[in-house]
Amino acid sequence: MSAEPPSKGHGRTGGHDVVRPFVMTGGRTRADRRDLRIETMLTAVPGATTSGLSAEQVKLLRLCQAPISIAEASAELGLVIGVTTILAADLVSEGRLEVHQTDPVEIELDVLSRMIDAVRAL
């Protein structure tokens, strides 16, 4: 299941190139982790190495030096959401990425207040 990084085709190909992303994910079309959603934020675990990673995973890990959502990372990498999610899932299971998210049922009043203040200040 070694997803060889493609030697060409760099740049923002978006979802139009279908074969390349399929190769990047080692043929997988769905991440094993179902908790990675479009708004899920990722951060690189301090000290995480890039050894053994594909070119796209290295790029993703670099983007995650500061917290970034899967949607933003996808836009940045020019990859469809599903591919980014699969790449991220591998990095999470290898302990290189940390996952941050919010369960709506546990949202506290003070968090809502902070959002209201921010929106009012726009």
Partner: protein
């Protein structure tokens, strides 16, 4: 004797949790979703594409060629940073109804939703209203006032959409930040009420 107000371990690198929160902006094609997102976002709306999920559920690995029948749908989203640890994301749903199966991917764990309504194409708002009601996602309805469109009484729009009386409804002009702000604040008020109700229910 002093009372400590927090329980952060002394000397440890204690940090608040990083929390992304997601809001969904739905509505029919041309209802103004991207305009609305752009009016509130601190960055020009970003576009990303979703595709693999549509293929994923249906791919037969023994017939690899099937994997190439991919369609992509574009999704625009914006961002509003509250502080270092709290970020609001606004996702516009793809307008086409035929991508309804993607909605779960977009909407799962959304804090709330805005349904933008173009009164000239009222029927295009039905799927969104039905979806958020079925999934119990708090939402508000905002009638986007375009110049030259027929004005309708909000009560009439509510009746036509079949939206229950407890769902907040308002008018807006999605092009203007001030107007879009009011819609988002209406939704946030709704969420505050829901959070208070939850808190009251747990204190028995």
């Amino acid at each position: 004797m002093t009372i400590k107000h927090d329980d952060r371990p002394a000397g440890d690198a204690w940090k608040p949790r990083i929390r992304p929160v997601k809001f969904v902006v739905a509505g029919g094609f041309g209802a103004g979703k991207t305009t609305f997102v752009g009016a509130l976002s601190e960055i020009p709306p970003l576009r990303t594409e979703a595709a693999m999920t549509t293929v994923g559920a249906r791919v037969d690995h023994r017939r690899g060629s099937e994997a190439k029948t991919t369609t992509t749908v574009a999704m625009d989203f914006g961002r509003l940073t509250v502080d270092e640890y709290l970020v609001m994301y606004l996702f516009g749903t793809p307008g086409q109804e035929r991508f309804g199966f993607m909605w779960d991917d977009i909407c799962t764990h959304a804090l709330g939703a805005v349904v933008l309504v173009d009164t000239d194409r009222l029927d295009q708002s039905f799927p969104a209203v039905d979806y958020f009601e079925a999934k119990d996602i708090p939402f508000v309805v905002a009638v986007n006032r375009f110049e030259g469109t027929t004005r309708h009484d909000l009560g009439a729009v509510r009746d036509a959409l079949g939206v229950s009386p407890n769902v907040p409804m308002t008018e807006c002009d999605a092009r203007h930040t001030e107007s879009a702000k009011q819609v988002l604040l209406l939704l946030l008020d709704e969420l505050v009420n829901a959070a208070r109700a939850r808190a009251a229910a747990t204190v028995v």
